[in-house]
Every structure is written in C-alpha cells, then in structure tokens.
C-alpha cells in the first residue's frame, strides 16, 4: 500500500459538469492524497452527490480531467467502495443481510454460475458486518432492521468490496446521534487502511473527526480542519447554518474539554 502514496487517491483538474444547461460544478480543482479522511459539505443541490458520481465514473464531466489512483474512473471503479444515498433503495426488498453485504463481492473471480459465493467472499462479508457492529444480524432479513442498521449494512456492503477509496453519500441520514458518533469513530479507524470521503450536513461534529473539509457549492474548495470557523461556514452556506459547537467530548467518565488531536 505504501508504494501508492505518491499518486493521489483523487485528482481533478479544471472540471465542469452540467445537467443539460444547468451548471452544477464549475472549474473544480481538487487533489485528495491517499489515506485522507475528509468530509464533503455544502448546501442541497450544491453538487455533492454529483461530485461523488463523477469520481465513480457514473457521470461524465463536460470538461476537465479526473483520475482515481492515477487512472480514469471506469478503470479504478473496482477500487472504490460506495454507499449511495439512503432513499435510493426499496427497504422491503426480500433479501438477507448477509446477501446484501455479499453484493460487494460480486464481480470478483471465483463466483461461478450455479454456485453460491466462495467461502472467502463470505468471510470478507462477515468481517465487514463486524466492522460496522452488526455481526449478529447476518442471517436476518434486510427489512427487519431499523433504518440506522440498514444504513450500516450498506456501509458494510461498501467495505466488502475491499476498497482503497470509500465514498459515502450521507452515511448519517436516518441514524440516531449515538450511532452517528460510533459511525464517525468507525470511519476514523477505517481511514488508517483506506482513503475515506463522506458527504455530511453536520459540520460541527465532523470538524473534530476529519483532517479536511471539502466544500462543494458549484465550486469546490478544500480546507484543513484548523481553518473551519463561523465566517467560513457562513461563506459556504450563505449564513443559514447553525454552527453547533462541539468543543468538548462526551466521554464515559464525564465531559472533558476537547483535546486537539495531533
């Protein structure tokens, strides 16, 4: 893995994207080094999901160059684990939790016609479920789980692709505050093994977790976390944003002042 550190995980040069005549992203320049843990923030309709879909190669930019680990997105796709936006799926679909996670292993060699997944694929899927704290739900039905659990199952599916880059579109939608904190801890842990980018609305909490914040509102600006303050947030959201201060951490043994991580 160390040999890749010279190539950035994502590099975007002078990229424009529009839906028909409606410009969504303009003159985007972005470089995300491998091993980064970054959140993507910005107003609704600002282009966050579009940016993710361009990185995945699901959308073609009008102009500009995009490389993922030095390759065009279509070639690098196998290296990317993706969590789509929550509303996109039918929650009543009849399928087991394990089979949802196993979809991350589709397209790997070893899966033949008329046979199930190889044992190794199942191991990987179970490990991914354990990673999001849902190991015991493997045999349940997807629709039996709560909204938050389903969301974590889909994160496990993304992990089961064994990605080098993890893209999560609003991973905290439908998740209660405690699970949200757990989720951020999980993402921080994962970022030691892979590059993690996630879309979020809650700038307050994430500024304690991530190393940089990517602001997307037609233009894209990347800020190290140390730069995040009220003025900047007003710039991004046009003043409509409530900055929730999270200057202290809720630890098991009581509230502690926040220790900046080095």
């Amino acid at each position: 893995m160390h040999s890749h550190h010279s190539t950035p995980a994502v590099s975007i040069i002078d990229l424009d994207f529009s839906y028909r005549d409606h410009p969504v992203l303009e003159k985007v320049n972005l470089e995300i080094p491998e091993g980064e843990l970054a959140s993507i923030v910005g107003p609704n309709g600002g282009g966050k999901t579009t940016l993710l879909k361009i990185i995945l190669g699901l959308l073609e930019p009008d102009r500009g160059v995009i490389r993922v680990f030095g390759q065009p997105p279509l070639k690098a796709r196998r290296e990317i684990g993706y969590l789509p936006q929550y509303a996109h799926l039918d929650p009543l679909f009849p399928v087991s939790v394990l089979n949802v996670v196993l979809m991350g292993q589709l397209g790997r060699p070893g899966k033949k016609l008329f046979s199930g997944y190889p044992a190794r694929a199942k191991e990987i899927a179970r490990a991914a479920l354990a990673e999001v704290g849902l190991a015991e739900t493997a045999g349940k039905s997807f629709h039996q789980l709560s909204g938050g659990q389903r969301q974590r199952v889909l994160i496990a599916r993304a992990l089961a692709t064994e990605p080098r880059l993890l893209l999560l579109d609003e991973p905290t939608a439908n998740i209660d505050p405690r699970s949200e904190e757990n989720l951020y801890e999980t993402l921080a842990r994962l970022s030691q093994k892979m590059t993690v980018l996630f879309v979020t609305h809650d700038l307050g909490i994430v500024s304690q977790v991530v190393r940089s914040v990517i602001c997307v509102n037609r233009q894209v600006v990347i800020h190290p976390t140390s730069q995040i303050n009220g003025t900047l947030i007003k710039d991004i959201y046009g003043g409509d944003f409530n900055l929730i201060r999270h200057d202290h951490r809720c630890a098991r043994n009581g509230h502690q002042p926040h220790q900046p991580t080095v």
């Binding site: 028909r20 995945l56 699901l58 796709r77 196998r78 990317i80 993706y82 789509p84 996109h88 799926l89 039918d90 009543l92 679909f93 009849p94 399928v95 087991s96 089979n99 949802v100 196993l102 979809m103 991350g104 589709l106 397209g107 899966k111 016609l113 008329f114 199930g116 997944y117 039905s141 599916r157 692709t161």
Partner: protein
C-alpha cells in the same frame, strides 16, 4: 363444487380439460418467476405495454398471411416479433436520459393495440378477437404446452444460474454496475424473457389480463417472502392455485376461464393484504 371439476378431469373423454390444467400449471412457473422480477423492478406497466403490442403483431401476421400470402408467418411468430420490438423500443429509448419512460410505455401500448385492430379490419374473414383479448385456456394445444415447458426450463436455468447477479440488479442496479456486473445484459435478458412469457401466456389469460397474472401472484408472495427465491416459489404456488381454482369454477359455472382465474388471483392478493395490515 370443485369435486365435479376433479371428476371431469378424470373422465377419459376430457383430454382438453387435462391439457388446460397442465398448461395452467406449467404457466404458473413462468408467471411466478418472471412476475417476481416484474414486481420487484416495478415494471408491470412495461409488461402491460408489451402484452398489448402483441395484438399489433398478431394482426400484422394475419394480414400478411391472408392478403400478402406470406405463409410462414403465423400469429404466434407475429406476436413474438411485436413483443420483442416493443421491449426493445421501451428498453432502449425509455431508459435513456431525458426520456419519460412512462410516456414511452403509454404510447407503445396504445399504438400497438391500434395497429392490431386496423390490420384485423384490413384482413378479410372472421377473426375471434375475444379469445386473444381475454384468453381461452380450453383452446390450447399440445404444442402450446411444449412451448411453455421449454420457456419454463429456460427461465429456471437463468434464474438459478444467475441468481446472485439478478438479485443485485433488482436490489440496486447502480451498485451492481459499479461492481462490473453487465447490468444492461441482465436488464435486456429479463425483458426478453418477460416478452416471451407474455406472448405464450396470451393463450392462457389473454392480452388484457396477462399483466395481472404477472403481478398479482408475485405481489401476494412479496407480502410473505423473506428472500427473493422464496418470493419466486410462493408466487409460483399462488399462480398455480389461482389457475386450478379458477379453471374449476369456470368449468362448473360455464364462465370464461381467463377472468375467473384473474379474479381468484386478485382475491388472494386482497385477502393477503388485509391479513398483513391487520397484523401490523
């Protein structure tokens, strides 16, 4: 009352009734498996358009056969060609960005049907439109049975051989595409099988009601199934029950078989929905 039906089935003179039952049971495999796909992908409206276009194909084939002396073209071949063309038009153009798939489906539906009626007008001689529109399971032949059995085998091989791929494509097409699954191939293959199913099943329940047999048993099954294959098996079971009971009632009271089968399938669906709503 069903006992009369079973007595009649046992009567050696009633081969047509036994054949009808065999065709019905064989169709339930196609109805259940393809229906599960149609319901979970929410493409019942598309299946409806394909089935109505079948009339265009039948009409065109009859006209070519009688007026233009194209002897090799029988109504079944015409129906199949029309269904595949309709599937291709909707699958290809409706799926493109910027097209309203629903509008495309509605247009294909109506135009296919209208063409059929016009061709039948242009063709001299008597044509029993009703049996195509509403089906007549008592008119099926051994060849129909054989065709449906071949279709069943193809469907079962496809559904079991590519189960996990089909599951992924139905559950989350975008994710499946990202994993390198040939989503378009599966989409077209499943649409093609849907089209063939519709064509062969027109004999059983007719153009107007084939869509009901593709949706009602699978939708009933969806209320109970916890896995996709369970939904397929249950849908086959509900389709078979609807056909056996429907055929029995229609025989007993001399009613049209297609509509009675549909009513039984509809009854299952509403009863199951009512049970489910009460539980929760």
């Amino acid at each position: 009352m069903m006992s009369d039906f079973f007595t009649a089935l046992a009567d050696p003179g009633n081969t047509f009734l036994r054949l009808a039952l065999a065709v019905g049971l064989a169709s339930s495999i196609a109805f259940g498996v393809i229906g599960t796909y149609v319901v979970s992908r929410r493409i019942s409206y598309l299946a409806g358009a394909v089935s109505h276009c079948v009339l265009g194909g039948i009409g065109a084939a009859l006209w070519l056969e009688t007026v233009c002396q194209v002897k090799w073209l029988d109504p079944l071949a015409g129906a199949l060609i029309a269904a595949l063309i309709a599937t291709f038009i909707i699958g290809h153009f409706g799926h493109k960005k910027g097209q309203r798939e629903e509008t495309m489906i509605g247009a294909t539906w109506a135009i296919g049907m209208a063409l059929g009626i016009i061709f039948i007008d242009l063709t001299p001689g008597y044509f029993n439109l009703t049996s195509y529109l509403f089906g007549d399971i008592l008119l099926v032949s051994n060849r129909d049975l054989l065709r449906i059995l071949v279709l069943d085998v193809i469907i079962l091989l496809f559904a079991s051989g590519c189960y996990h791929q089909i599951l992924a494509v139905c559950f989350d097409e975008e994710f499946a595409r990202l994993r390198g699954i040939r989503v378009d191939f599966y989409y077209q293959a499943l649409l093609g099988l849907t089209a063939v199913t519709v064509v062969l099943m027109v004999r059983v329940v007719g153009i107007v009601m084939v869509i009901a047999m593709l949706t009602l048993p699978a939708a009933t099954a969806a209320l109970f199934a916890r896995r996709l294959f369970e939904m397929m098996l249950l849908a086959v079971f509900f389709a078979a029950m609807a056909i056996v009971i429907g055929l029995g009632i229609s025989y007993q009271y001399s009613l049209s078989s297609g509509p009675v089968i549909i009513l039984v399938a509809g009854l299952f669906y509403f009863l199951a929905t009512a049970c489910k709503t009460r539980q929760t």
